[in-house]
Amino acid sequence: MTFKNECQGFQLQMDSYLDGGLEPVQEREFRNHMDHCSGCAAELRYATMLLHEVASLPVMDCSEQALEPVNRLAGVSGQGPAGFMERLRNLLDSVPSALQIGAPIALAGAMGVAIALNAGWIGTPDETGVEPSLLAGGEQYTEDEIVQAMRDLEVAIDYLNAVTVRAETIIENRFVMELQDSIDASLRTLGTGDPDATTVDGPI
């Protein structure tokens, strides 16, 4: 081995030496070389000084202004981080606006049609396309019929409320969680292993 290669070998061991990671025999050889090679000894002094300077860099702290989001979040909600509605809102924020508006309208429309069909509010229209009962005057309904209609309406409203609660549960269990899991799985497939991980694999 030439002198240059010998120096290079020892300089490659420098960090292990500084970390105390050399075997006793290697460490003895390393020290011996440093005693006899002024170039490598200067490199070792420089490496030691650099390590000391890096370790001396102070711990930094952010300004109070940087904590503003924390204070704002704490002020806005006393319910704690990321409740269901908040997570749903975050998810919806990431969905295109056309879908954000269109999906609830379509869902509400579908529910309305289903309820109307179930309650028999939509029947076979006559030639005018309008229910005969809707064309009739108020005199045709008795008081009992009106009371019964009000009761039916209350039942329908209760049913609608129950459907809303159920829809929320279904959205959370089947839609939000599955979609989130799917996003997480996609991110993991990209090799990051973390939902918040960057997609960058190599050195930046």
Binding site: M49, L50, A55, C62, S63, E68, D196, V200
Partner: protein
């Protein structure tokens, strides 16, 4: 729950901010990154393993820094920063301060993961195991990257020049040892 959220931020914010600051070297950028992480913590609170909160926060901070560096590289801001640095007049800083300033720039300019590992290990004193958890690397990989990162730092020409000019080290060669092994008879 809210108290725990604030407590987590109080506990880890210095560690996170120091990491972001030495990675980016501007307070404004580091605070932007930190705010982003605070919001992510809020959004993901229920899905985080709270026993590994520190690792999650540092990993998220590191990822936010990487994203920030990537965005800055493609913007005019980076060019402006470099111009300001290049044209900055030589202020009569004490020798050690000038060297420290150049050292911080050299650390910032290291590519990742060398930069992250140097900051976590040599500035913040984290263990190989902790760094491995954060960066999802084995301990031996962390060690290899650390040694390569330190070597790159030692080979930084501007830093060596400053050390020689200020006579911080005697007999230091401006050119570091050859990297490529040349077998000679």
């Amino acid at each position: 729950m809210l108290a725990k959220y604030q407590q987590a931020i109080e506990q880890y914010r210095r560690q996170m901010f120091s990491f972001a600051y030495y990675s980016l070297r501007t307070r404004e950028d580091a605070e932007d990154v930190l705010q982003d992480v605070f919001i992510r913590l809020w959004q993901h609170w229920r899905r985080i393993d709270h026993d590994k909160m520190g690792a999650w926060l540092m990993r998220t901070t590191r990822n936010a820094v990487v994203d920030h560096v990537r965005k800055r590289k493609s913007s005019r801001q980076h060019i402006t920063d470099e111009l300001i640095e290049a044209e900055a007049p030589d202020v009569a800083l004490p020798e050690t301060d000038a060297f420290r300033e150049r050292l911080e720039i050299a650390i910032r300019d290291l590519p990742d993961p060398f930069r992250s590992i140097i900051i976590m290990r040599d500035v913040q004193g984290m263990s190989y195991l902790e760094i491995g958890h954060i960066l999802e690397l084995s301990q031996s990989q962390v060690k290899v990257y650390l040694h390569r990162g330190r070597r790159r730092l030692r080979e930084n020409t501007a830093l060596r020049q400053l050390a020689v000019d200020h006579e911080l080290i005697d007999e230091l060669d401006l050119k570091p040892a050859e990297r490529v092994t040349k077998v000679t008879p």
